[in-house]
Amino acid sequence: MSTDVMAIQTAQISTRPWTQILHEWVITVDHKLLGILYILYALVFLVVAGSEAMIMRIQLMYPHDHFVSPQVFNRMFTMHGTTMVFFVGIPMLFGFANYLVPLMIGARDMAFPRLNAFSFWLTALAGFLLYFSFLGGSGLYGAGNAPDVGWWAYAPLTARAFSPGHSTDYWTIALLVSGFGSIGTAINIIATILCMRCPGMKLSRMPLLAWLNLVVSGMVLIAVTPLSAAQIMLCLDRYLGGHFFDTQAGGSATLWMHFFWIFGHPEVYILILPAFAFVSEIVPVFSRKPIFGYPVMVGATLCIGFLSMSVWAHHMFTIGMSSYANSFFTLTTLAVGIPTGIKIFNWLGTMWGGKIQFKTPMLFCIAFLFQFLIAGLTGIMLGSAAFNWQLTGSYFVVAHFHYTLVGGFLFAVFAAFYYWYPKITGRMLNEGFGKLHFWLFFIGFHLTFDLMHIPGMLGMPRRIYTYEPGRGWDLWNLLVTVGAFVQAIATLAFVANLIVSYFKGAKSGNDPWDAWTLEWSVSSPPPAYNFALIPTVVSRRPLWDLKHPEDPDSRYE
């Protein structure tokens, strides 16, 4: 009976005029539609910021290349960094959180659906503002003046004297607005998880994805707000003649650095913890075993969240802090390796002895494990002050954080796409295309970011628009650019897969992976109300209990 109802609904949808469909998407307060909007928005900006990266890589392919001017190069790395962090990373994680958290905890929607829509449209407006700077940065007649202060926007580069026009103002306002959007969504996710769980869904039974998003949202509350505060100060400086970061009136450029990195470092954990969340859901399903060490995983997450608030100044070892400060921030930074290591061992423990199925989501997760391990190791290298003094501001640092954000975050996001696409659209992503995407991206990633460490160690500074030949950097830069092209082609294969499979993909049914969390108990795509009857759970794997009533999990928990 229910399939008939769905068929009728589909027929109705397909006959409606497109304006009505668009109107529905604009006014929606449904967490699933908003989640999809967030994800699509992040994908668009992923392509935009990826193109900016390609422009930089083409410019650096040969010494003395003239593909773009130094000014354009500065704008490209500023826009690339800002876009990737604020308009790809954050919307991507909020998109998946929005879509999945209510389904996983057995709720019909988020705690505040209208706040949810408001937060998304704030984020959307912020991205628009940032890119409008290409037109409005110097007024309409001075087109082509995006911000060029780097994504850290260190003072005094942002002072009126050094950034005339409005490009820096667009950057400031965009980040302020997107920050408010992030805070709104973080409040919403916390309230949803604490107040909307279905009966029996104790905190100790929640899927790890919900747990990690709870921690991430808590971190957003206290890490994104310092950036908002600093942006307000910067606005006051630029518009009302304040002196917060005006060194000529006694203000401090260092204070901006502190405020920025108090946000900036927790931010990378805000991005990587959702990646951990995806891996923690996907690895057990494709290893056919429950997650190993659930309480320890939760504890390690809380520990990472706590430690991440006390490591920010490892970005500032070279500004001349006291040796006590250097030691403190070295120790806290190295300490983050402990809970992160616990997580890696637990994922390995989950796979150990399991019947591993090498489907595309699992391939991305396995690559994630090894790549994130290496990224963590270079992170520990850079976390010790003495080593950092040698390599800070070099391509070694660029290689390190791209290893975490591409090799870690992006690989996990790809895994999430392959894993939850069937739930979101009702159709499977093509497995052959998926494997092609994986291997191409894997090869391109390693070509680019493994080799990028080397010119860094040979002394190539970041943010230079060209370099002299004969310093031993030439070959490495060429290979890095070739790798970037391979990644771009792989991403095209991914986008093609997303589009083609939406129309031609095999029907997925409710539960294509034989998984255990609540989102797989409803139809794909889920109905607007999610659950006809609010479920009740008695263990961490409610669908396992349902499928194996003779041997339920609740017996062992």
Binding site: S2, L221, P226, A249
Partner: protein, 198 residues
């Protein structure tokens, strides 16, 4: 499909979760506290670092009376919300109105102080570091008072129209949480600006 949706175990007898409004407001307060912390840190970091006068001691007078107004409004809103929970609408409206009056008085006090500083002393946000940090910290708090008063007034208008009853008391409690936060922040700002910073 249908085989999988129905047979979940039975609902446990007791399943109580916190009220989402309260949790949401608590989160907002945490986030706002972080913003205020950054502004307070900036204020303390720049105390005594201005390259030119005037100094806080030259121009600032602790606004004791208006501080008492604001802090006592926390009491009135607390009792107002309590009375609403017991269904005493008239008393609720009276105390609620008193809260707004006290908040507005505080705002008037800040306005008067700023007027004196700007028009009599020529002291503005761009005069020196003290001006920058003083106006932004006190102004940030003042803007929260404005937002609070705006929301309190909305409730008052609904109350006068007879639309606020005991069934809304949970929401009113949430709003009073925000107002308590605004008052608590003033304690910090007052201490930093008028005691430590002087």
């Amino acid at each position: 499909m249908s085989s999988i949706t129905t047979p979940f175990p039975e609902t446990p007898a007791v399943w109580k979760l916190p009220y989402r409004g309260k949790v949401g407001m608590a989160c907002l307060i945490i986030a706002e506290s972080a913003i205020f912390t950054i502004f307070v840190v900036a204020y303390l970091y720049y105390v005594g670092k201005s390259l030119a006068g005037p100094t806080p001691r030259d121009v600032l007078e602790p606004p004791i009376f208006y501080t008492i107004c604001l802090l006592s409004s926390s009491l009135t809103i607390h009792f107002a919300a309590k009375l609403l929970g017991r269904g005493k609408r008239g008393a609720f409206l009276g105390l609620w109105f008193l809260t707004i009056v006290l908040g507005a008085l505080f705002l008037y006090g800040t306005g008067q102080e700023w007027h004196r500083l700007i028009y009599e002393r020529g002291f503005t946000i761009s005069t020196n570091l003290f001006g920058t940090t003083y106006y932004s910290l006190v102004g940030l708090h003042g803007s929260h008072v404005v937002v609070g008063l705006f929301m309190l007034t909305i409730v008052l208008l609904f109350g006068l129209a007879g639309r606020v009853g005991p069934e809304q008391s949970a929401r009113v409690e949430v709003l009073s949480l925000y107002w308590h936060f605004v008052d608590a922040v003033w304690v910090v700002v007052f201490t930093v600006v008028y005691i430590l910073g002087r």
